[in-house]
């Protein structure tokens, strides 16, 4: 496999009784941006540290650039890491930080200076070489941390939630910058995050991780539109989760009813029979809102609701409804036309969604009781 920069084969890591990484296998193509997305404690940091070489897998093998990394120390791997808190060396200037790895490789001083200066210029910090680390802004430090790694021309760049410490505005900005940097350098990036928006925006491929395993591995579009498991459906993007039992089923679709008697239709995902516990998911932007039935798309089953609260957030504005009879919460994205800008709490409305764009999974063990 000449085009794969990272291959993990049945990698396992246990801490006492707890399995942090459970027989994980995946491949990351050369030059791609691969994200590992999961809640805290899912094992993604352990996986990253195994790739970097700080911890050894109990079994299985990790290969980087076609070579097995078994028994190879972090300082000898063609991998560099951008740490969560960046870990820039405060005792050195920005230029010395970037030149640190080159010095360790025995690159001559003049060449070191030239290459670190060139790298700083590429990340837009050409004049910062002599500055102290604490003189830089959060975003500039971020770029220094990346430059410090990329100057070594690693096969793989690992990033451990590097945007977590930044404020929202800067985070949005750095997302774009990271994507542009990756495109410009062509280095393979492996990025871990618990923020699904970062993973979706940045990545070519995303592995959604839970309890040491990949729930699903695919493109951001796959994860969003075609989730394979209820975990992926609820973790990636906003979703309305409806729990109930199957009341009728055919080869492709299913009708499910909640315990208090609200029935919806959705696509069938996985094997299920009448009476089985299931979880249904409807994206907020899939549902339509109307004051009268004629405002709703024709041919869709409609439901009655009452406005509970308006969640104004510019382009991401939504309305939180209650299904009128069962009082179950349902979130709908507001259209950008301003059609419903005069909506008031307690107002009676109708809503509908295309059953072809809603999904229904067999309920996970232990997850049947509570609503999302």
């Amino acid at each position: 496999m000449s085009t794969a920069d990272l291959v993990a084969d049945a990698v396992v890591k246990r801490f006492a009784e707890h399995i942090a990484v459970d027989s994980l296998s995946f491949t990351v193509e050369r030059g791609s941006f691969f994200s590992i997305l999961g809640p805290s404690g899912c094992g993604k940091t352990t996986l990253l540290r195994m790739i970097a070489g700080f911890i050894a897998p109990d079994s299985g093998e990790i290969s980087i650039g076609g070579k097995s990394m078994q028994g190879i120390a972090p300082n000898r791997r063609p991998v560099n890491m951008v740490f969560q808190q960046l870990a820039l060396f405060p005792m050195m200037s920005v230029g010395e930080n970037v030149a640190f790895g080159l010095a360790r490789r025995g690159v001559a001083r003049a060449e070191r200076l030239r290459r670190s200066q060139a790298m700083l210029e590429r990340v837009g910090l050409g004049g910062a070489a002599s500055k102290r680390v604490d003189e830089l802004s959060g975003g500039q430090r971020q770029r220094v941390a990346i430059a410090r790694s990329l100057v070594l021309e690693p096969t793989l760049l690992l990033l451990d939630e590097p945007l977590g410490a930044l404020d929202l505005k800067l985070r949005e900005h750095m997302k774009i910058e990271l994507k542009q940097l990756q495109a410009a350098f062509g280095t393979t990036f492996v990025y871990i995050t618990h923020d699904q928006s970062e993973a979706l925006v940045l990545s070519d491929h995303v592995g959604v991780m839970s309890q040491g395993r990949f729930e699903q591995l695919g493109t951001p579009q796959d994860l969003y539109y075609r989730p394979h498991t209820p975990f992926v459906a609820s973790f990636v993007g906003a979703n309305n989760r409806i729990v109930g039992r199957v009341t009728s089923v055919d080869h492709a679709s299913v009708e499910m009813t909640t315990a208090d008697g609200w029935a919806i239709r959705a696509l069938k995902k996985g094997a299920m029979a009448v009476g089985d516990a299931v979880e249904g998911f409807v994206r907020p932007e899939v549902a339509s809102l109307g004051r009268t039935q004629t405002e709703l798309p024709a041919g869709q089953p409609w439901h009655a609701g009452e406005v509970q609260s308006l969640l104004f957030d510019g382009a991401n504005s939504a309305v939180l409804l209650q299904e009128r009879r069962t009082r179950r919460e349902f979130r709908i994205a507001l259209p950008q036309t301003g059609q419903f800008s005069d909506l008031k709490p307690q107002e009676k409305v109708l809503f509908s969604f295309d059953p072809e764009r809603a999904v229904c999974f067999p309920a996970r063990a232990g997850a049947a009781g509570h609503d999302a």
Binding site: P74, N75, A87, F89, R105, L152
Partner: protein, 294 residues
């Protein structure tokens, strides 16, 4: 109301003065006053019974008498060596306590370092004498193991003095080192490792620069303690220990020459001040920064 504000201000001043009073009193009565008196003593000469004149004779004697010079330089050199060896020994200990040991193990190790200090220095030093004297534990063990034919005297060597000085000073080096190593972010070590550094490069480029104020603070404290130590060189080095504090003791107590003793005392003070300043200059640090870390 300006009068109320004024009153509050005075109350604030008064409580600050009262709070500082014990420290100021201690500083004045036990440090400053005796030193002023000693300074006056050192600059006078006895020309007849109860008749003194101002003179530099005491300092002239020091520079004219080779024995004083010899002991002075020897004390300084041995103190520097003892400080350096203490640093070498304390660094791994502090590293283990601050970085490698987890939770309870870390505090247990620290307590192990502390426990010997529950015993007075005299008793500890006498303990060394029991171990090292010719009829003591270690020489007889060496005979039993067949390493030496007859018991050897392990006391009264320079090396013995060195062991005693390091043993006495170790804790004062370990404590500032622990606090400076604990504040070192492990991610920095990992980052350096990840960027290709080996253990030595990490120590030189990351750990030592970070711990430099702690190292300097420990060295200053240990150097001063060693230079001014009287008990350990006297007991472990015996008559030939030739420690400068012994010369001072002799002048004051045996020779009853307080003037000469005071002059030697001031020369020792000058020596430690100069050495500390040189040390700070060489490592490029400031006294205030260093003391804040201890």
């Amino acid at each position: 109301m300006p009068s109320a504000a004024l009153q509050r201000k005075w109350q604030g001043r008064l409580s600050l003065t009262l709070l500082l009073a014990p420290a100021l009193l201690w500083l004045c009565a036990l440090i400053i006053l005796p030193h002023i008196d000693l300074a006056i003593l050192s600059f006078r000469e006895r020309v007849g019974p109860r008749h003194y004149v101002a003179s530099l004779a005491q300092y002239r004697t020091f520079f004219a008498e080779p024995l004083y010079w010899h002991v002075f330089v020897r004390t300084a050199v041995m103190s520097v060596v003892a400080t350096f060896l203490t640093l070498l020994l304390a660094f791994p200990i502090a590293w283990i306590i601050a970085k490698l040991a987890q939770g309870r193990a870390s505090s247990l190790l620290f307590i192990l370092c502390l426990i010997p200090f529950w015993v007075s220095e005299t008793v500890r030093t006498l303990g060394w004498m029991i171990l090292l004297r010719e009829s003591g534990v270690l020489p007889s063990l060496l005979v039993k193991l067949g390493i030496t034919a007859v018991p050897v005297e392990l006391l009264y060597h320079d090396a013995t003095i060195m062991v005693g000085l390091i043993y006495t000073s170790l804790l004062f080096m370990v404590i500032p080192l622990i606090s400076s190593l604990e504040s070192l972010d492990n991610a920095l070590i990992e980052a350096a490792y990840d960027l290709g550094a080996d253990g030595f490069a990490i120590l030189r480029a990351i750990v030592i620069p970070h711990a430099a104020p702690g190292i300097t603070a420990g060295c200053i404290v240990v150097f001063m303690l060693t230079l001014g130590n009287y008990l350990t060189p006297t007991l472990l080095g015996g008559k030939n220990s030739q420690w400068f504090t012994e010369q001072i003791y002799t002048q004051f107590i045996t020779r009853f020459n307080w003037e000469q003793g005071a002059a030697l005392g001031f020369l020792l003070l000058a020596l430690s001040t100069v050495m500390v300043m040189v040390g700070l200059r060489l490592t490029g640090q400031r006294f205030g920064d260093v003391m804040r870390r201890t």
